[in-house]
C-alpha cells in the first residue's frame, strides 16, 4: 500500500451520523473483481438523489479530507468502502467514532482515519463551510491536524494513533510480509493444536 506521512487538502463536511457502508458504496458495485475503479459507486445514492449533497457542490468536489458525523462506516466488512473513498480522491476520514471493521480496513489500504472529539469535528465543519478552500494538513508524523482559522491564526489539534499502526502507515508496510517473519511461531503453534479440530477437507457425508 501507499505510505501515509502527511497530507494537505480541503475538507468535505459531511453532516451525517452513522454513515453506513451501504451508503459509502452499495452492494451492486461489489460484484466487480478488481481492486480499483470504485469511484463511481462512492455515495452514489446521495449523489444521485440529493442535489444538496455535499459532494455535489462544486466547491467540495476536489476535497480530499472527509469530515463526518459519529459512527462512520457501520455495517458491512466490505473493504470496497475504503477503496471507493481512495478512488474518489480521499486520503483522510475524520469522525468522532468509527465502526471497527471500516477503521481496520482503512489501515490496510492506506486511508487514514482520525478520531477527534465531536467539538473538533464541528470546528472543522464550520471552517470548511465558512471557506471551502481552507487548507487542512493532517500530519501522521507529529499526530497533528492544522488549519488556518480564516483570521490569520492557525488551529492545531492533536490526535491519537497507535504506534504500531502509525509505523506501518508511515512505512507503507504490508501485513502479510510482516507476519511471514514469524512463520516459526506459526508452525510451533500449529503443532500444538488438538487433533479433533475440524478440517474442511475432505468433504464428509452426513452421518
Amino acid at each position: 500500500m501507499d505510505a501515509f506521512i502527511s497530507h494537505t487538502g480541503t475538507v468535505a463536511p459531511l453532516r451525517r451520523s452513522a454513515v453506513d457502508t451501504d451508503q459509502i458504496i452499495p452492494a451492486e458495485y461489489l460484484k466487480r473483481i478488481t481492486r480499483t475503479g470504485f469511484e463511481d459507486g462512492l455515495f452514489v445514492a446521495w449523489r444521485t438523489n440529493e442535489p444538496d449533497f455535499v459532494l455535489n457542490k462544486p466547491e467540495y468536489a476536489d476535497a480530499s479530507i472527509l469530515v463526518a458525523g459519529p459512527d462512520f462506516g457501520t455495517g458491512s466488512s466490505r473493504e470496497h468502502a475504503v477503496w471507493a473513498l481512495l478512488d474518489g480522491g480521499f486520503r483522510v476520514v475524520i469522525s468522532s467514532r468509527f465502526a471497527d471493521i471500516f477503521k481496520n480496513n482503512s489501515t490496510k489500504a492506506g486511508l487514514l482515519t482520525v478520531v477527534l472529539p465531536q467539538t473538533e469535528v464541528e470546528a472543522l465543519w464550520a471552517a470548511a463551510e465558512a471557506d471551502p478552500t481552507t487548507q487542512v494538513t493532517v500530519d501522521l508524523q507529529s499526530k497533528e491536524i492544522s488549519y488556518g482559522d480564516g483570521a490569520g491564526g492557525q488551529t492545531t489539534v492533536p490526535f491519537d494513533a497507535d504506534d504500531y499502526t502509525r509505523w506501518r502507515l508511515l512505512e507503507g508496510l504490508d501485513d502479510v510480509g510482516l507476519t511471514e517473519r514469524h512463520l516459526d511461531d506459526i508452525r510451533s503453534f500449529e503443532s500444538g493444536r488438538p487433533a479433533w479440530l475440524p478440517k474442511a477437507l475432505p468433504a464428509l457425508p452426513a452421518r
Partner: protein, 468 residues
C-alpha cells in the same frame, strides 16, 4: 485471574505476543465467499504466495446466487464473472467449494454450523460482517476485510488487538410470539448502532440459555449491528447436542475430549466486563425498526417517533433523514404501516426453525393479495429439510414464493430486490437506505412478525392473529 469466555478463546489462539505490537492470532476456520475474496486471491498470485491451510478453509457461493433457475448459468454477467472467479480460485488454490447446486451450498454462516465445521472455542473469520453468527457456539468469530482475507489465506493468522468485553444479560421468560430477533433488536435499540464498538459481547442469562441454537445464532448474528467485533454465548448441552453427528464434528474418543474442553468454555465467576447491559425478557414484545439503521427500532405496539422530541441534535437530524427516506409521518402507529413485500430468509433468520415458525402461522391462511412473500432458505440443507417436513407446500399454498438458497433480498446482489419506494418487512439484519434495492424501504422483523405481516399486509404481531 478470572477470565471471560471471549478472553479464554482469544488467549488460546495467541501465536505471538510482543509489547507494542498487535497479537498474532491463529485462525481455526476461514470461510470464503465470492464477493470479498477475488482481490485477495489476486494478491496471493501477485506475490507468488499459496494458501497456507486449504484444509481450514471452506468456500461457498451465496451473495450473488439467483434463487430461481439455479441450475442455469447466472444471467447477470457481472455476478457470473464473480462466481466464476471463485470457482477458478478454489480450483487453483485447492480449496473446497460448495457451488450452486451442491447439497452443501448456502449462506456461508448457515453452512458452517450445518456441517459441524463451527465448534466451540474456535476462532472463525470470513470476509463478511455477519461472521459473528458462529459465536452462538462459543466461538470467537468476526468479519474481516479483503486485505485480511488475503492475510489469513497466506498465513492462517491475523494481527489483532485484544477487544474490550461487554456482557448483555437477558433474564426472564419470553412471552409467546416473542423471539430471539426481538431480543437483539431491543438490545441494539438500547445501545445504538455502533454502541458496542471495540467490544466483544457475551450474551448471558436465563433467557439466552433457554434459546435454541438457531435462536442463539440469530442473536449473535446481529452483534455487528450494535458495532461489536463479535458476539458469543457459552456452549452448553444444547450446543453439544446440535453438533453431535454432524459431518465434521469429532467422533468417538475425540468427541469426548472435545466435550471435556468445550465444557470449560464459560466466563469465570468474578470475571470483569468493561461494560454491562441488562434486559428483562419478560417485558419484551415484538420489535420492529422504523428507521434506516438497526438501532432505530421500537415495539410494534408503538408509534413512529417524532424527531422534534429528540434532544440530541445529531440523533434528531438522523431521525428526520430516516423518516424522510422511509416515507413515514411521526405519530403513525407502526401496526398501520402497509408493506409490499415480506422477505423471510438471510443468515439472521433463514434456518429451519425460522421457517417452521413462519409456516405454523401461515398454515391454512393466505398471504394478503397486495403483498408478495419471498421465502428463501439459508442453505440447500435447510431447503431439503423444509421440503421433507412439507413446509414448502404450506408456503406455496398460502401464496408465498418458495425459492432456492442464498443471501437473496437481504442485500439484493441477485435479482431479488425491492423497487424504488417499495416497502418490506424483512427478517434480515440491515435496514440501511437502498439495502434491499435502490429506494427500497426496510422494516426489520422476526419470522413470526414476517408471517403475520404477510397475512394482513401491514406490520402485525403474531398475537393479533390468534382467534382471527
Amino acid at each position: 485471574m478470572p477470565k471471560t469466555l471471549a478472553e479464554k478463546v482469544y488467549e488460546a489462539h495467541v501465536v505471538r505476543s510482543t509489547p507494542g505490537e498487535p497479537d498474532l492470532l491463529y485462525i481455526d476456520l476461514h470461510l470464503v465467499h465470492e464477493v470479498t475474496s477475488p482481490q485477495a486471491f489476486d494478491g496471493l498470485r501477485a506475490a507468488g504466495r499459496t494458501v497456507r491451510r486449504p484444509d481450514l478453509t471452506m468456500a461457498t457461493e451465496d451473495h450473488n446466487v439467483p434463487t430461481l433457475d439455479i441450475l442455469k448459468p447466472i444471467a447477470d454477467p457481472v455476478s457470473r464473472a464473480q462466481v466464476d472467479a471463485l470457482r477458478a480460485n478454489a480450483a487453483e488454490f485447492g480449496i473446497r467449494l460448495a457451488p450452486m447446486g451442491d447439497r452443501d451450498q448456502g449462506i456461508v454462516h448457515v453452512i458452517g454450523p450445518q456441517l459441524g465445521l463451527t465448534q466451540p472455542g474456535m476462532t472463525i473469520v470470513c470476509g463478511d460482517s455477519h461472521t459473528s453468527t458462529h459465536g452462538a457456539f462459543g466461538a470467537l468469530a468476526f468479519g474481516i476485510g479483503t486485505s485480511e482475507v488475503e492475510h489469513v489465506l497466506a498465513t492462517q493468522t491475523l494481527p489483532q488487538y485484544r477487544p474490550k468485553q461487554m456482557s448483555v444479560t437477558v433474564d426472564g421468560e419470553l412471552a409467546p410470539g416473542v423471539s430471539a430477533k426481538d431480543i437483539i433488536l431491543a438490545v441494539i435499540a438500547q445501545i445504538g448502532t455502533n454502541g458496542a464498538a471495540g467490544h466483544v459481547i457475551e450474551y448471558r442469562g436465563s433467557a439466552i440459555e433457554a434459546l435454541s441454537m438457531e435462536a442463539r445464532m440469530t442473536i449473535c448474528n446481529m452483534s455487528i449491528e450494535a458495532g461489536a467485533k463479535a458476539g458469543l454465548i457459552a456452549p452448553d448441552q444444547k450446543t453439544f447436542d446440535f453438533l453431535h453427528g454432524r459431518p465434521h464434528a469429532p467422533q468417538g474418543a475425540d468427541w469426548d475430549a472435545a466435550v471435556e474442553y468445550w465444557s470449560t468454555l464459560r466466563t469465570d465467576e468474578g470475571a470483569v466486563f468493561d461494560s454491562e447491559v441488562v434486559l428483562d425478557a419478560s417485558t419484551l414484545t415484538p420489535f420492529v425498526t422504523w428507521g434506516t439503521n438497526p438501532g432505530q427500532g421500537l415495539p410494534l405496539s408503538e408509534r413512529v417517533p417524532d424527531p422534534a422530541t429528540i434532544a440530541d441534535e445529531g440523533e434528531r437530524r438522523a431521525a428526520e433523514q430516516a423518516l424522510a427516506y422511509m416515507g413515514l409521518a411521526p405519530g403513525t402507529p407502526l401496526a398501520e404501516i402497509e408493506v409490499d413485500t415480506v422477505f423471510l430468509g438471510s443468515c439472521t433468520n433463514g434456518r429451519i426453525e425460522d421457517l417452521r415458525v413462519a409456516a405454523d402461522l401461515l398454515r391454512g391462511k393466505r398471504v394478503d393479495p397486495n403483498t408478495r412473500m419471498l421465502v428463501v432458505p439459508g442453505s440447500v440443507g435447510v431447503k431439503m429439510q423444509a421440503e421433507a417436513e412439507g413446509l414448502d407446500k404450506v408456503f406455496v399454498e398460502a401464496g408465498a414464493e418458495w425459492r432456492g438458497a442464498g443471501c437473496s433480498m437481504c442485500l439484493g446482489m441477485n435479482p431479488d430486490q425491492l423497487k424504488p419506494g417499495e416497502r418490506s418487512a424483512s427478517t434480515s439484519n440491515r435496514n440501511f437506505q437502498g439495502r434491499q434495492g435502490k429506494g427500497g424501504r426496510t422494516h426489520l422483523v422476526s419470522p413470526s412478525v414476517a408471517a403475520a405481516t404477510a397475512i394482513t399486509g401491514r406490520l402485525t404481531a403474531p398475537a393479533a392473529l390468534i382467534g382471527a
